[in-house]
């Protein structure tokens, strides 16, 4: 885990260098990274299986309970192996799929960042840390989905995914903070032992609902499912990675992780089962209406995610076991099928299954892999898919009252799976046709090996479930169920109810296949229905937001600096007046009047520098003179700072004044000539506002001086700046050491502001000064 943490830093630092290296040279390091991580996690296998857990913690901002804490148990290891293992194949696959793409290096970077964020998410042991990795996956998936950034569809899908998952992320953060406060700790492994405390707390319900919202958006549950099919605008390897083993499983992982803390209550069960059931049904129904292979697979992913949520909601040991096996099976099958779709797209240039025929003739290895993956997806003996399907059926039937209803939903989802499996595994490749679809690009080894390996893995897991899958699944089950359960996976259960159900599923699936073309013909008639779907609601909100804000801006942004300044000033005056409304403290000026006797000559000189300056400022008709006078006033203020013992502030003020004058001079010749266009009464208005502001500031400053300030801060910094900060200049020690984090935030803002300023100025220049 130390390695996994440390490896993040070099990747971050390598980003600017990776930008300059051509993509094809990056394949080896990019594929080695997940491979090394996979091997590294494998070294923990034996100890995790024997029941050990590992935790590593580094303090980050301990005052805010934010620590970089990592925790490795069966569940995290299960997901970490999935993420890093699939990462290797995706990297290898992309090398050929995106061969010659000018931004391939950037692609590897995004993918590595995404993978590391996912790993961080499943390994995190601190609530805030988990949230940060959660958001990192959202951001990096935004970059991945919008990878073809010259395509507007791709951009808007990426934005949609970011907005939906980001919204859920905010809910999640609130839920996490509530959970941390309720449980009294932000460390997840400690929280896991405090389930009873959390569940009996009055804030349990809001925390649960917020966390569920976060998980539902990430895992594309109804009504947030719409971002997932749109996200297939990403290159196929990205869809394969995001939809199979990683992004969408994050929500499932989160809920599985928190099952001992939050799970088991009625709200949990009903919400998860209901939402999961709706999603599973909806995904299945949407999947049969599409002709684009990727859209079909994306919609079956939604359906599978719904099934996973149902299993979490049922929460019996059998259901949780089925959950884990299904996660593994689904990841293998779905990733393989997505990659095969990518192969077909790469070779023929289309993903419309109606125009694809007889592909096996020219794409033999892909065809074999497709058939194997489809068999596993359909749940055929002896693949892992079969075991998982049997377990799903058993778990739903054992779920009590609503068992049959849940069973029928899972059943429908599986019938659709069989239909899809027949299309991809058989119809596209094997039937003999006179004119097979022509192949433009042959598929190389990099394209055929990854799906082949995944399909073979599904076969191997299915043939030898006892050796290969049971130990890991068992150790992953323990943290969810809260106790160690002994499980046994086997391929042959005898002539049970499950087997009969499987056969029924197969028959029904074949029947649906025969009428599939009619369903597709019928589906355009459903289009009016989609106009009221969540996707349209999202579009409505987003376009409404853009229109509304442009209207608002046209009202409040007049473009005149004077109106902005007067708005700011009046707001401030109003706020001060509001807070002092009831009890206006009177000024006691005797002290100040006495102090007037002590005014030194040089202070008076400065005063006489400023006041005539102001007078000339009002009278002048030239910008240059106005700027110069402003400079004089600024310098005089800086001198005041020096007189009163703040040399740092004075130096900054002097430099800023100089820069302001210089910058003004630089832009001076672009400004229109100086004219008094406003009416005289308006000028009186501004004079009034200025006088009001000046009077208020004077009043407040005098008032503040009247009450002595009791603060230990000065004492603390004075005492500690040399001892702890190794510096005698307190201001600087505070800036770079004691409050260094604030300064870091400030300079980040400064950098972002500079980018914004450049963008704005460039925009003006490019449009030729037009608005």
């Amino acid at each position: 885990m130390l390695l996994a943490t440390i490896v993040r830093l070099p990747v971050t630092y390598a980003a600017p260098i990776m930008q300059r290296i051509p993509g094809r040279q990056l394949l080896v390091p990019a594929a080695l990274l997940p491979l090394v991580l996979f091997a590294y996690f494998c070294t923990y296998l034996s100890e995790i299986i024997s029941g050990k857990t590992f935790s590593f913690a580094y303090s980050w901002v301990p005052e805010l309970n934010i620590n970089l804490a990592f925790y490795l148990d069966g569940l995290s290891l299960f997901f970490a192996l999935l993420i890093s293992g699939f990462g290797v194949f995706i990297m290898v696959y992309s090398a050929e799929y995106l061969r010659g793409h000018p931004l391939l290096n950037r692609f590897y970077l995004y993918l590595s960042v995404f993978m590391l964020s996912m790993l961080g998410l499943v390994l995190a042991d601190n609530l805030i840390c988990l949230f940060i990795f959660w958001e990192l996956t959202s951001i990096s998936s935004y970059l991945l989905i919008g990878f073809s950034h010259d395509n507007p569809v791709s951009r808007s899908s990426a934005l949609q995914a970011l907005l939906v998952t980001g919204l859920g992320g905010l809910a999640l953060m609130t839920g996490m903070i509530l959970l941390g406060n309720v449980g009294g700790t932000y460390t997840i492994s400690e929280l896991l032992t405090r389930g009873e405390l959390v569940k009996s707390h009055p804030l349990y319900l809001p925390a649960l609902l917020l966390i569920l919202l976060g998980a539902f958006t990430k895992s594309a549950q109804f009504p947030f499912h719409f971002w997932l099919p749109n996200a297939m605008a990403a290159p196929t390897p990205v869809s394969a990675y995001l939809h199979s083993a990683t992004m969408v499983k994050a929500g499932v992982y989160l809920l599985a992780r928190f099952t001992p803390v939050l799970g088991g209550t009625e709200v949990w069960q009903y919400t998860l089962v209901t939402i999961g059931a709706i999603t599973a049904l909806l995904g299945a129904l949407l999947a049969v209406q599409h002709i684009d292979l990727k859209a079909i697979l994306a919609n079956t992913t939604i359906s599978s995610l719904g099934v996973l949520m149902i299993m979490l909601g049922i929460g019996t040991p059998a259901a949780l076991e089925a959950l884990l096996v299904f996660i593994l099976a689904h990841a293998l099958n779905k990733c393989a099928l997505f990659l095969i779709t990518g192969n077909i797209d790469h070779a023929t240039g289309t993903r419309d299954f109606k125009v694809l025929y007889g592909l096996a003739l020219n794409m033999r290895p892909t065809a074999v892999a497709a058939t194997m993956a489809a068999l596993s997806f359909a749940g055929m003996v002896p693949f892992l898919g079969f075991i998982s399907k049997e377990m799903l059926y058993d778990a739903t039937l054992g779920a009590g009252k609503a068992g049959f209803l849940i069973f029928s939903i899972v059943f429908i989802s599986k019938v659709v799976a069989i239909l899809i499996a027949i299309i991809i595994g058989y119809k596209l490749f094997w039937p003999r046709v006179s004119e097979p679809t022509p192949i433009h690009h042959p598929c190389g080894l990099n394209l055929t090996i990854p799906p082949m390996v995944m399909a073979s893995a599904a076969l191997a897991f299915g043939m030898l479930p006892g050796i290969m899958a049971t130990p890991l699944i068992q150790s992953a089950l323990a943290p969810i169920a809260g106790k160690t359960l002994f499980i046994e996976l086997k391929i042959w259960h005898g002539l049970s109810l499950g087997l009969i159900n499987s056969i029924m599923t197969f028959i029904l699936g074949t029947l649906v296949y025969t009428v599939h073309s009619r369903i597709i013909e019928f589906s355009p008639r459903l289009t009016p229905l989609y106009n009221y779907g969540p996707n349209s609601i999202y579009q409505f909100f987003v376009t409404g937001l853009v229109k509304g804000s442009s209207k608002l801006i046209s009202i409040i942004q007049s473009g005149y600096v004077r109106s902005y300044i007067s708005a700011i000033v009046l707001t401030m005056v109003g706020l001060v007046a509001l807070s002092l409304w009831n009890k206006v403290p009177l000024l006691n000026l005797t002290q100040e009047i006495k102090m007037l006797h002590d005014v030194r000559l040089y202070e008076l000189v400065l005063l006489f520098l400023i006041l005539p300056g102001l007078f000339f400022l009002f009278k002048t008709h030239s910008r240059l003179i106005a700027i110069a006078i402003m400079g004089i006033i600024g310098y005089s203020v800086a001198l005041f700072y020096i007189l009163f013992g703040a040399p740092d502030v004075a130096a900054t003020q002097l430099l800023i004044e100089t820069l302001t004058v210089v910058l003004f001079v630089l832009v001076l010749h672009r400004l229109p000539p100086f004219r008094f266009i406003s009416h005289k009464s308006k000028r009186y208005k501004y004079i009034l506002i200025s006088a009001l502001f000046g009077a208020m500031m004077t009043y407040v400053v005098l008032l503040v001086k009247q009450y002595p300030l009791h603060s230990e801060l000065k004492q603390f910094y004075g005492d500690n700046s040399y001892l702890q900060g190794h510096g005698r200049n307190i201001v600087n020690v505070i800036l770079v050491d004691f409050r260094g984090f604030d300064t870091l935030g400030e300079i980040t803002v400064l950098a972002v502001a500079a980018i914004g300023i450049v963008a704005l100025l460039r925009l003006r220049l490019e449009k030729g000064g037009k608005r």
């Binding site: 770079v736 300064t743 870091l744």
Partner: protein
């Protein structure tokens, strides 16, 4: 705004400004000064140059390094080769101002690079504490001190980051604003 006095003066003053800014940067921990002030002083040097000569000239003469190759002849002595190289460099540098399409490799420092480097340096200085099993951005100091700079520690590195960033921000804004 091309005045002879200013253009000669700024030529002489740029090194002074830069050294003074570094001086301010490093004395900041014990006396008035620091990364922010240092960065502003350094940027003033460039800004005056821009005022006199325009942003393009500033970039080509101060923020760009042209590299010219020159083949070593087989029967040429080493010292002669180096001397010629030096001569060519000086000669070509003057040419390069007019002849932009020379196609020779040049290294241009964009102010955005300064901003990025500054942010990177500042954020990285916090990681040192992290690697020593302490919270992020806890300071650590070397036991020895370097003449002219003083004691070296992560806050000093952080301040260097601030210096670079401020310099970059001011330069970028100036260049964009003064561009025609």
């Amino acid at each position: 705004m091309k005045t002879l006095v200013l253009s000669v003066a700024i030529k002489l003053l740029i090194p002074v400004f830069l050294f003074f800014s570094l001086y301010c940067l490093f004395r900041g921990h014990n006396h008035p000064g620091g990364g922010f002030i240092g960065g502003l002083i350094a940027s003033i040097a460039f800004i005056f140059h821009t005022m006199v000569h325009g942003p393009n000239r500033t970039i080509t003469s101060l923020l760009k390094i042209n590299l010219y190759g020159f083949e070593h002849q087989p029967n040429q002595s080493r010292s002669l080769f180096l001397m010629r190289m030096q001569r060519v460099k000086r000669w070509r540098r003057r040419c390069a101002l007019d002849d932009k399409k020379s196609g020779k490799p040049d290294f241009r420092l964009d102010p955005f690079d300064l901003i990025a480097t500054g942010l990177l340096v500042a954020a990285t200085s916090g990681i040192v504490g992290f690697l020593l099993q302490e919270p992020y951005m806890s300071s650590s100091w070397f036991a020895f001190s370097v003449p002219f700079i003083g004691s070296i520690g992560t806050p000093v590195i952080f301040d260097i980051g601030v210096y670079l960033l401020v310099l970059g921000v001011v330069l970028k804004i100036t260049f964009v604003m003064s561009e025609e």
